[in-house]
Amino acid sequence: MCGELSWLPPRCESRVGAAHRRRGTPCQDASGLWCFSDADGQPLQALVVSDGHGSARYDRSAVGSKLACEVALKEIESRLARSPIGGPSDLEPWREWLAHGLPDAVLQGWRREVLHHGQVHPRADGEPPSTLPYGATLGVLLLTPHWWGFTGLGDWDLVRIGSAGARELLSEEPASPGGGEATFSLCMQGAEHHWSSRSGLVPIEAGQEPFTLLLSTDGIRKSCGSDADFLNLARHLGALPACDDQDPPSPLAKALDHISNQGSGDDVSVAIARWGQPKDPPLQQERWPSNEPLIVQPLSDRDSF
């Protein structure tokens, strides 16, 4: 550990977008987290967000985004339960794993799961099972005592908020690959080639000051008037008080509803990680460690399978 600071219990939330609620369309976003231990008992956290495509041909993207979150979390946990994360040195293998090994495993698992879903739930139009209708993006954060890393593909954003409030956009999708609303997707052929440019590993140095990481789907950023507004918003979201399960919706959920209502109308998801003093507000300590991943995908008026 670095000093007395450590990773605080994480949060994630997904909310149905204002436009989706009005039209009765399902939430195509999903988010998730898992707090677990590696083979040596070191505490780890994995956080994910996924955004299913909205076009008519991706009519099972709500399923695709949920499966993306599940597969990614389980793949990370499965790998680290076998291979201890180790110490603060020799990080290159993990960097390589985030850029290539994990993406390959997640893609393989996601394709397997969505094709299985397609077999169990055949399409009314008789089309054979395909990954295409399940298309979704995926952003992943992995937090260890010695470093943190990220990977994924698509139009998610990752922001770091320092203890003094400094905001930095760490990762965003470069100019859209097909124009307009186009993004890289799990359902694309050659999807495995688009993760490495969105992956990274950051060592946690001795004396590391507290900071917050916010991973979000594009509905958040597209609701903001400018990048400066987005970074300010990230700071606000990262500082919101913890979820009170006795009084849902949580402050975070209310904030996301407000953002979608006043902004893009899109589904919105965030996952929030915080490095700080463990005595800070006790956030859902009961979730750490947990035997199963937490997946959040709110129901809407329409059953999406």
């Binding site: 204002a18 436009a19 955004d51 495509h53 909205g54 076009s55 008519a56 041909r57 991706y58 298309g135 993006t137 139009d155 100019a175 859209s176 690959p177 097909g178 124009g179 307009g180 609303e181 186009a182 993004t183 890289f184 997707s185 359902c187 694309m188 594009d218 950023r221 597209k222 609701s223 903001c224 008037g225 400018s226 990048d227 507004d229 300010n232 918003l233 606000h236 904030a255 407000h258 953002i259 006043q262 902004g263 893009s264 109308g265 899109d266």
Partner: protein, 234 residues
């Protein structure tokens, strides 16, 4: 809720590019175009109200001897009718210059990075009298122009369909495959109505999709039915 954050709807720029050359005076074409645009505005406002997440902003660029912004400020659709001044015909057809003027406003800035794909509607009854291809090249070098929904309406049989087709491009699905042919005022009004309501409605509801797929960012709605008018005045 967030004092230093401006949450905002995503702007959707709708831009008419109107041929105001002298030939538009003939057979009341200019009058028909003005009337069609004016009549379409109330329904366009309704579309805007049905899609509150999009902020529809209208502009009009006219071209004759020169290209001139007729309504140059991006104007909320519910304010356009109040500000509307009829277009007037007279002069040549500086369509190439219009492409360049359009290119200048489709850059970021002034375009918002989070804007929805713009809708560009080119309406002409003739052929360019300047270097159209040079203008088109300038326009299409702008990413927002490439992302835009580009439509073209040919007024009468003398319109240069090849030029209008070049403006539309040949991307499958992104835009109507061919220029719309309006040979009478009723058909022109139907096409203007379609572009300003059905297309704007579709563009207001963007659907994310994988890059590189040969599909449209904005799925164009069906065209209004073609009703042959025996008068076929243009």
């Amino acid at each position: 809720m967030f004092p230093d954050v401006q949450l905002s709807r995503r702007p959707l720029h709708f831009i008419y590019l109107c041929d105001c050359s002298g030939s538009m005076r003939a057979s009341s074409k200019m009058q028909a175009l003005n009337q069609a645009i004016r009549q379409s505005l109330p329904e366009m406002v309704q579309v805007s109200q049905q899609n509150p997440e999009a902020q529809i902003l209208v502009r009009v660029l006219s071209f004759a001897d020169q290209a001139v912004w007729h309504l140059g400020t991006p104007t909320p659709v519910d304010q356009v009718l109040q500000q509307w001044r009829d277009l007037e015909a007279g002069g040549l057809t500086a369509m190439g210059e219009a492409m360049k003027q359009l290119a200048a406003v489709l850059r970021t800035p002034p375009m918002d990075q989070r804007a929805l794909p713009p809708v560009l509607v080119l309406i002409s009854d003739g052929a360019p009298t300047d270097d159209f291809l040079d203008g088109l090249r300038t326009l299409m070098a702008e990413p927002w122009a490439a992302k835009a929904v580009r439509l073209a309406i040919a007024i009468g049989h003398d319109a240069d369909l090849e030029v209008l087709q070049q403006f539309i491009g040949t991307d499958i699905g992104r835009n109507a495959k061919r220029p719309l042919q309006a040979n009478d005022s009723n058909t022109l009004a139907r096409y203007i109505q379609w572009a300003s309501t059905a297309v704007v409605g579709a563009a207001s509801q963007p659907r994310s999709q994988p890059g590189g797929m040969a599909t449209a960012n904005v799925l164009l709605p069906d065209l209004p039915p073609t009703i042959l008018d025996p008068k076929d005045v243009w």
